[in-house]
């Protein structure tokens, strides 16, 4: 009995492991824009003005949305090219997979199939049968 419980807990996907990690994942994945205009004036004279335009995101999201990287960053590496491929999280196993492949074929990790892929498969079988 204990073994069975152990099994079921070890099988839970890792992405459920921690709420904080999940929260950070989300923020980095969605990206965060922080814009602020701050002015300070003394005796009616504007003394200091601060204008902040900040964007916070993971490397992948930053690359996708075309944020500028510090000068000297080599954007020709394999990792950048990989980041530019549109990815989606597999609803079953949670791995990030090329969204075209996931949608049109299946998840290469767990074999999950989308409704579209199933429909296509069905249509394909029908065509063959005719």
């Amino acid at each position: 009995m204990r073994d069975r419980i152990m099994d079921s807990t070890t099988l839970t996907p890792e992405k459920d492991a921690s709420g904080l990690a999940d929260a950070i994942d989300r923020i980095l994945d969605k990206g965060l824009v922080i814009n602020a205009d701050i002015t300070i004036d003394v005796a009616g004279i504007e003394l200091l003005g601060i204008k902040i335009r900040a964007a916070l995101a993971s490397f992948e999201t930053a690359a996708k949305y075309g944020l500028e990287f510090p000068s000297g960053t080599n954007l020709e590496t394999a990792a950048w090219k990989e980041a530019m491929i549109e990815k989606e999280e597999c609803p079953q196993c949670g791995k990030r997979v090329d969204s075209e492949e996931l949608l049109n074929i299946a998840c290469p990790w767990c074999g999950w199939e989308s409704a579209k892929a199933k429909k296509r498969k069905k249509a394909g079988v029908k065509v063959e049968a005719q």
Partner: protein, 109 residues
């Protein structure tokens, strides 16, 4: 054995909401001495996810390339009401969700 962790889904939901709706902070402080305006401070701060920022027209830092594919997808893709996965609005409306198969059934309306 299913273990539900309500506090975690709560945090996730909260974060999603905050990011999607955006947060605006608008403050002004004034300190007067007698009738002389001694010190004044104004702050307009806004915080939002990329998607919301684009929707409400926030400025992005200089040098941002606003012509990438991801920007176009923000306006052409929509989440499915059942599974939440994003797909092209037209496809979702006309053929149903390509991810979960949800369909709003135009025949039965």
């Amino acid at each position: 054995m299913v273990i539900l962790r309500p506090e975690e889904t709560g945090l996730k939901e909260l974060l999603d909401r905050v990011l999607d709706k955006g947060v605006a902070v608008d403050t002004s402080v004034r300190i007067d001495l007698g009738s002389i305006n001694l010190l004044g401070a104004k702050a307009h701060i806004i915080l939002a996810s990329f998607k919301t920022a684009e929707k409400i027209g926030l400025d992005f830092p200089e040098g941002t390339n606003l012509n990438t594919l991801a920007w176009q997808h923000l306006t052409t893709k929509q989440p499915c009401p059942v599974c939440g996965m994003e797909s092209k609005s037209k496809e979702l409306k006309e053929e149903g969700c390509p991810w979960c198969g949800w369909n709003h059934r135009p025949d039965e309306r």
